[in-house]
Symmetry: C2
Subunit: 324 residues, 2 copies
Amino acid sequence: MAIRTAIAVANPNIAFIKYWGNRDHALRIPCNGSISLTLGGLETQTTVTFDENLTSDHVFIDDRSASASTSARVSQHLDRIRLIAGFKYCAKVESRSNFPVGAGIASSASAFAALTVAGTSAAGLSLQPIELSRIARLGSGSACRSIFGGFVEWHANETDEDSYAEVLAPSNHWDLQDLIVIVNQEHKGVGSTEGHALADTSPLQNARVADAPRRLKECRRAILDRDFPSLASITELDSNLMHAVMLTSTPSLMYWYPETLQIMNEVTRWRAEGYEVCYTIDAGPNVHCICTRKYADRIEKRLRRLPGVIQLLRASPGNQARVL
Amino acid sequence: MAIRTAIAVANPNIAFIKYWGNRDHALRIPCNGSISLTLGGLETQTTVTFDENLTSDHVFIDDRSASASTSARVSQHLDRIRLIAGFKYCAKVESRSNFPVGAGIASSASAFAALTVAGTSAAGLSLQPIELSRIARLGSGSACRSIFGGFVEWHANETDEDSYAEVLAPSNHWDLQDLIVIVNQEHKGVGSTEGHALADTSPLQNARVADAPRRLKECRRAILDRDFPSLASITELDSNLMHAVMLTSTPSLMYWYPETLQIMNEVTRWRAEGYEVCYTIDAGPNVHCICTRKYADRIEKRLRRLPGVIQLLRASPGNQARVL
């Protein structure tokens, strides 16, 4: 091998039942299972080029050299692939996302899913999706879900071997829309990796985790039955449970901005009016408004009228991570 | 007896370790103990006049006839006093507060403390403070703390007889100030009594209650040692724990407004700058900013500059409920 290259794309995902806290931090084995929708329309495209002439890895994000810590995390992930492939060539990695990164839109999920697919392909490996999901998980937990399209469940389990995601329902099962309201594009103060490590400092985390099987079951059923009211209730509850844990960690993690809260309150009000919409919020201030196709245009119009809305992105059920 | 009358005043209180959820709803025996500061400067003044010529109780709040539900709750409380006094005369009750009621400033605490003291006095009873605290508790849980001045602890316990408050430290022990930021004067959507009944629907309430002894101990120590940083940490954590439970109840109780969140975020930032201030929030959108006297003027100035601040009240450690 002299030079081997591959390009892959992956979508981020939004979790209805969220991942927060690890049973094993190094292996990113989560405390509880999670369920998400892969978000088509938003994507990270990553090119990995293994080149025997390179003496170190070079990582570029949106055409700029990545920070030392990001580069180190990418190199560590490439090491996992190099170990399986049985070589030690360094790589050039170029990654580009068409949405704001680090603002609670799971940019690390699409980034590590794309890196895993491009990296293993460039290394000449042909792995099963479940294998790709396991490897992606080691780079960024929720990336294991972005390997798959549609509605995806990550089985928490207890070991490196059995903690991976699988498809719950394909992308054409239910035409939900995600209207992502950007209220702030600043990079969040505390990243998810650090945040996960604080989960256990909250007196509430164990109770949140203990109740997760019930929520997973309810969410699975709501998705399979296309039961929007049930999906809305369990999704908002689960988002609130995660933020309850964040808020009561030491130090306290408060990801919401005043605008975040206003959108939460409005969405709740709109649903009471009969609109099929609910909110869910990741580790950042932006709000994902999940709605049925029928109401999406009307909700988008209402959202755009709210003060403090910097940008609005719209996503539909997306496909699996893939080599271009 | 023909006509017997008494006037009493009582202050509201703000809890550092909060009361949320009952072990026994009818008797208002709480799931966990609580610690508060009685708030001097804010007060409810109540006149109770037992009159053998009346054929029903008449309740006036701020010179207007009270609603049917409020009147019924007051009559029920008078029944407790009439039972002890051994007569059945009806009463005229006139109550007036110098602060907005029903907005998370414990108006029912000062109201039922004043009603208890005025009512028992008008009935010719001479009861010990602990007895008054128990009776007040039956009208409104946190009213049992407003019987006392200064720093007060309500022992949860398990029966009607042993669930009452006591002084932890007198009002001159520590000159803390409470800057109460009113961001909204509307009467809150879900009152505390209904809210307490929902606490058990949250998957987090048991964990919050189980951790309460640790918080009570830490809060007691911080007060006795006048250790502001510790008081600030445990107070904000406890407030966040209560709102975490509210937020994850079914239905979800969201008392915060966008302005509430902004003040929380600012207060946290100011403390990081070295200001001795912390926030705590009851079942409403308004924010209590607890601070030391040294920083109070500077914090008040900063608070008044924030958008959405409708009114700012200032309270100092207050005294026990008393007959005028």
